[in-house]
Symmetry: D2
């Protein structure tokens, strides 16, 4: 925790307090699309987690989580990659932390992406992963999806709202859907 001086309180909040705050201000999020590249950098596979959603449905999702009080964006990325992909995933963080896009999630249907829990503003990154991701925490599975299969618009049906659009964005800027 970069900025956490001794004497400061924990950045973790009890659930009732976090729920209250979530109804009052937007949350800062980081999101990471795990990727595998060829030796020359071509996008080969995209990593997806399988999670149980709030209403019990299974959904595909990328790494995603909030930035804690006094935590840097880089620390939050490292922490969520470690938490979601396990200790031997070996993610490769970038030197430059300008996100490739900013994703906005709103609790009210009909605006931006939908997240029933909160209004969140997410900095989104594509992160090469060298090791072996293992689903941890609340994820049920982790799969590498070949980039050819990622172009199938049916993925959208199975994905957390917004994440199919982030995937399409990545395919576009990497030239993978030409």
């Amino acid at each position: 925790m970069s900025g956490l001086a001794s004497g400061d309180e924990s950045p973790w909040l009890p659930p009732y307090e976090l729920d209250s705050i979530r109804s009052k201000v937007p949350m800062v999020y980081v999101e990471a699309i795990p990727i595998r590249l060829s030796p020359t950098g071509a996008l080969e596979d995209v990593g997806m987690l399988l999670r149980a959603s709030h209403n019990g449905e299974l959904q595909r999702a990328f790494v995603s989580g909030r930035v804690l009080y006094q935590e840097t964006v880089r620390e939050a990325l490292v922490r969520h990659l470690d938490k979601d992909l396990g200790p031997v995933a070996m993610p490769r963080l970038p030197a430059v932390l300008t996100p490739f896009t900013v994703a906005e999630y709103f609790p009210t249907p009909g605006y931006g992406f939908h997240d029933p829990r909160q209004h969140a503003v997410a900095l989104v990154y594509a992160i090469p992963v060298d090791g072996d991701p293992a689903p941890s925490d609340d994820a049920l599975d982790f799969s590498w999806i070949p980039v050819e299969d990622c172009k199938n618009p049916l993925w959208e049906l199975d994905m957390v709202p917004g994440h199919a659009a982030l995937l399409a964005h990545l395919l576009t800027i990497s030239g993978s859907n030409l």
Copy 2:
């Protein structure tokens, strides 16, 4: 307010409540550097506000403010530009809202940029301004600084922590300090 359905509460919070939240989660901010360009797009002038800081000192600053609950990043940018530069500034917002950098402000000295009030994560933009900015709200003055003068490192002494670095960043990526 894009996502504010009828029946939702106001996104404005009483000061004591905002102060409490500011000690528990990072705030989402937008920051805008007002710029004037030549007909061929060369950076000519940078706009700076003059504000009284919390301890009464005068400080130069760019447009800056938080994103409200249920407000989009674009709406927040428009609102803060309008509030800080007045109704006839005619800012030109970009089609693509990927920021040129992300600035992190921490209340604890020694980490990132310093903001005694809060931990903030700011999306930073350079915004061409066509009209006549008039200092409004809590600003005392607005000045256009020729880009040649912006290179003087003495600006740093007068600027809100972090904003001199944002200015240096803009001069670098626009090729203005070559």
Copy 3:
């Protein structure tokens, strides 16, 4: 011509010589997608030129042309915008000339985008246009296409190879196809 000292030869080349060079090295190109934005920066219209292709078919295209010897990228952008859109188009060039993408055109079918004339590497920009473009030079027509209509994949049939992909790229990064 920034770098053209007195005594240097003209950057213009006779056609036979340019044709010969085009078969030996890649050409440096700039490409500009003319756009119109709402007062808050949302993408509203995309400008397209109508040209007769080499085999006489009509094709939609964006502004495109080569960078001359001793000409800066910025000068080339200004020159081609002026040549293709006329003197009262009032394009708004950006302060930062990092392109949103790099497009590669090859004379050999099956690799990247196809351009039978040459191998070209193009720096691609989206340029807001405030005035009234008038087709000039070798263009037959100029039209503003509402962004809603741009999503129709049928455009691809009418467009210069590669330009439909550039349009899709712009719609993606501006969030216009969400």
Copy 4:
């Protein structure tokens, strides 16, 4: 060579012909700054080649070279990294080939960066390197320079024109000079 169909001529040109072309059109270049990152992605070291310049002086430089006819930008990056850093350097190419900046070199002093040989437009990348670079080809030495030492403006004296500015640009966008 992606686009090189059988029957096409070699993309290599005899020196007299390349010299002639270099006086008539800008050359397409790729440039790569080799970098080493901490496990969390912080910039730790920058790699520099030592070369003998045309007039016999020793100069520091990054990886740099032209894109051949019918060669993709990605292929050119791979080829020049391999040629300059040797076969066990293990460079990590990015999925997205949008450069972090475009550098322009002119043969006429006083415009952009200076290159007495040619007018070149270079796509510039920062490339993480995992292995052991060995100076090859025309380089005399390769060194990793700690990022702290890179901030010393004296580097500029020893570097190829323009490369000190590219280094300063990278330090700025990675937050390394805060």
